[in-house]
């Protein structure tokens, strides 16, 4: 649905935070040559700006003075799929899952490095700006050909069960982004399995045995503790 943005092709980012120091830091971390930055200092202003300025991405703090950040995500999701990355000091898994399940695309715990932030922004923007999904995922030695349903590592084909393949495909479609247990279960197994984390854990363990060179030190599928999984992307 999105078109490539104008303003010299610079993506528009709406930063929602009430801490002046954070705003100042983000201004210098996201240079004006690459991004066009807009600011909102509270939840209501953010909702208004999201509608008026039509940003390509929102960087959202959860601890806002008027509305809770999760509520802001929920309200935006009522009318728009525009990407949201949460930046918060809340590091508890429950908070992360709540924000992700409400519709946030990614979650970064403060403090974070600039490189990390830029990488996440790139992943999210690439996914939302591209017209069609990439037919082939490649990272390191792992290659997933989504059209031919073929998985190879270092040129050797890996045989996967249909469920394992569905799981890997879902992760590949969201490469670089975190998916919560609930989101994965719903999309791979269906709504009735939303609480069956065990099923996911067992399948994931089997999948890793097949695709990871050292299963106890996974290189491709990263466990986001207490939240979900993320497939690494370039």
């Amino acid at each position: 649905m999105q078109k490539v943005k104008n303003e010299g092709g610079r993506p528009r980012i709406l930063v929602v935070d009430d801490e002046a120091a954070i705003l100042r830091f983000l201004k210098s971390a996201l240079p004006g040559e690459e991004y066009s930055l807009h600011f909102a200092e509270n939840g209501h202003a953010a909702l208004a700006a999201a509608a008026a300025a039509r940003p390509d991405l929102i960087l959202l703090d959860l601890g806002l003075p008027d509305l809770d950040g999760v509520e802001v995500i929920r309200r935006i999701r009522e009318w728009s799929p525009l990407p949201i990355i949460v930046l918060s000091v809340r590091d508890r898994e429950d908070d992360k899952v709540a924000a992700l399940d409400a519709g946030a695309d990614d979650y970064l715990v403060k403090p974070f490095g600039v490189a990390e932030l830029q990488a996440r922004i790139r992943v999210v923007l690439r996914r939302s700006l591209q017209q069609a999904p990439e037919p082939v995922y490649r990272f390191d030695e792992l290659e997933i050909d989504l059209q031919r349903r073929k998985v190879t590592r270092g040129g050797t084909e890996i045989q996967l069960t249909p469920t394992e393949y569905d799981l890997l495909r879902l992760l590949a479609n969201h490469a670089g982004m975190v998916l919560t247990h609930g989101q994965i279960l719903k999309q791979v197994w269906g709504n009735t399995y939303a609480d069956q984390q065990n099923v996911l854990r067992v399948t994931m363990s089997n999948l890793r045995q097949k695709i990871e060179p050292v299963p106890s030190r996974p290189r491709y599928i990263i466990t986001e503790l207490g939240v979900g999984y993320r497939l690494k992307s370039a």
Binding site: R201, V202, L225
Partner: protein, 886 residues
Amino acid sequence: MRDDETSRPSPETLLKVAQAEEAQAAKGKLKIFLGYAAGVGKTYAMLQAAHERLHDGRDVVVGYVESHGRSETDLLLEGLEVVPRAQVEYLSVALPELDLDAVLARRPQIVLVDELAHTNAPGSRHPKRWQDVEEILSAGIDVYTTVNIQHFESLRDVVAQITGVVVRENVPDSILDQAVEIRLVDIPPEDLLQRLKEGKVYIPEKAARAAENFFKPGNLMALRELSLRRAAARVDDQVRAYMESRSIPGPWPVAERILVCVSGSPFSETLIRTTRRLADDLKSTWHTVYVETPGAGKQLQENRERVWKDLRLAESLGAQVATLTGASVPEALIDYARKNHVTKIVVGKPTKPRWREFLRTPLVDQMIRLSGSIDVYVVSIAPAEAAKKEGVLHRKRPPLSGFLKSLLLVLAASLLCQPVHAFLAPTNLVMIYLLAVVLAALRLGRQEATFTAFLSVLAYDFFFVPPRFTFAVSDTQYLITFLALFVVGVVISTLVSQTRERAEAIRRREAQTATLYYLSRDLAAVSGLDAILDALVRNIEENLQAQVVVLLSEGERLEVQAASGGFTLGAKEAAVADWAFRNRAPAGKGTDTLGSAKLLHLPLQTSGDVLGVIGIRFREEQEFTSPECRRLVQAYAAQAALAVERAQFARQAEQAQILKARESLERALLNSVSHDLRTPLVTITGALGALREKDVALASEAKSDLLEAAWEEAGRLNRFVGNLLDMTRLESGALKVKESPTDVQDLVGCALAVLEPHLGRRSVNIAVPSGLPPVRMDMVLMTQVLVNLLDNALKYSPPTSPVEVAADIVGDWLTLEVSDRGRGVPAGDLSHIFDKFYRVPVPEGAGGTGLGLSICRGIVEAHGGTIEAHNRSGGGLRVTVSLPVI
């Protein structure tokens, strides 16, 4: 008080006065409207006084007033607040009674309670109304009450003598002594009789009967005199007390002490009342004692119970009570009298026939002979009454089998004599019979032994005294042999049985002392409240053969802390226990308060405080009323209270210790926080300051060094804050363990992923068998445990040495091991490294926050697991975490 008017009273006197005044201030004041008969106008006078107080602005309510349909009284009741009466159900009739709880809840300044001598309906809290009044007084409420003179305990006999009517509703004299004011309500007997005729006292037909029986002019005059004298005596007391408190010298009588001895005879009660009156007249203290003689063990149970009743009566009349043991009553009495500086001894006039005095000197005579400087008062007992009551006192007959055994003994003695009588003189055979008597005395008892002596004489005469096989005696010399055999037999039997009974009495005492000793030994041997209560319950169960329940106060409420097996406390018993606790007095079965309860409740009282209540249920009914038992359980309760207090003190001390430890911990926390927060900031601000300075030209290498240092320190600062937050969550309980089946390989992988940036070129050896079943744990928290352990291993070992991670399931436990090849930990520190803020001194100063390992321990223990550290052979440290696999 002016100094020239009065000399200074002694400090002791002042203290006594101050204490009395203090007790008075805390307690309510009692005002008694005293009359000499029904209808003199006591209630009327009381109501008038109530109206006056009401007019003065005092808060007066009517607790219980019976107008008996008298219209003047009814009129006066108007305008006074009346507390609704309680309806006590008894034999399906609702009896109106004073609602004690309602009065206590209402808390007026003054409450009116009519008819002090009234007996409450069964099932009420107290059997008598005067006990209700005492409770109201102790709650600090003033009471106005009415009573007639004939109801006072000490005057009962006098009144019975005057009127021929035995008054059953009695009030102890002590309550009269408590009264702050006694208002004598007096009208001439003629006026009273006139009122009676007019029907103002009783309804007509009842009035006629009353006039015949009680309201005779002679009776009324005598009763009036009694009441006037009692009131006057009271005034006298007050004058005396006033003079004493102001040190006004006066004709003080020497301090008198009176002693009366009770024996369980039917006259003891009369003796006690008489002594109380005498003591009142002489303003003296008095003692009542019971002497347990060796013969007492043989006395029938009924008699013992009577002795206990007598002692309790004396106690309630204000006597000091004691039980003595001695071979002879007079000696024991005189001994006690001398030790306690008794000046007068009261004894009853002998009622036994004169001829018996030849056999045994009457007690009175023995006392007089021994008394020395002590006066002996001999009190008469009405002979008619004595004769009537004599029948009650009969001795228990030994069982028939005892006499049969005597018979067998004599037969055996005779058979023994048969073969030897040819060789021995007949007089020597007497010795064999004496042997039988001694045996009977040792084995059977006094009466049986006497019987044996008698039989022996007969058998000896019949079988061996010529002419044999007749009772005839040819030689009169043998009569002396017979007499000697009989007398010696009786004396021996008496002596032997006395000795035996004395030993028995001593043994009983000894047993009591021993049980107390065992209790104190057991209580001293244990510490901790639970162990103490356990010992207490066990001792009471074993030694008193009773069931027991111990309640201790938890704030304002009593909670059952220990009880005999299978024993539960009903709501009613709990209420009785509560009463005993609040009023600091025994209650329940065997006491005057809530006597319908099933248990006897004693407060656990120490010098300062009531700690709780102990409820006891004896197996035998009479043990509830026995003073011996009561004394014993009270001794138990006192010991228990001390032990419980000791345990509570210990607990307080422990808490103080914990508080102290917490304080030092908080100091450590502050030190750590200030140190660990500031140190990274030093590097960060230093580096940033240098880079910010425009005038300082830095080589690009130096710049990147500074930046790297600042970056690392910022990371360290972040980790420290994270640790602090985790510790806080762990300690506040905000950290909830959310267990779910976890893949151990994934767990290890996650931990290593977190540490990836710090691993550098370190080799990590992982030994996790594939195919380990999932283990229930909180993966997030356990990952953190592994991260902290690995972080430590990396920090405290050389940069090139390997780090090892191993996991396995052995039996019901999952073990996770993290090992390094560092310098290890000094053996003495191994057990401390998991303590908060404990840091092993490291020479390079690469110390951590001292929190990481304690967080590990907190998390592992929250999982029900253990964590321990060992030095490895060949150098290095191994930390092993064990988690239960369910």
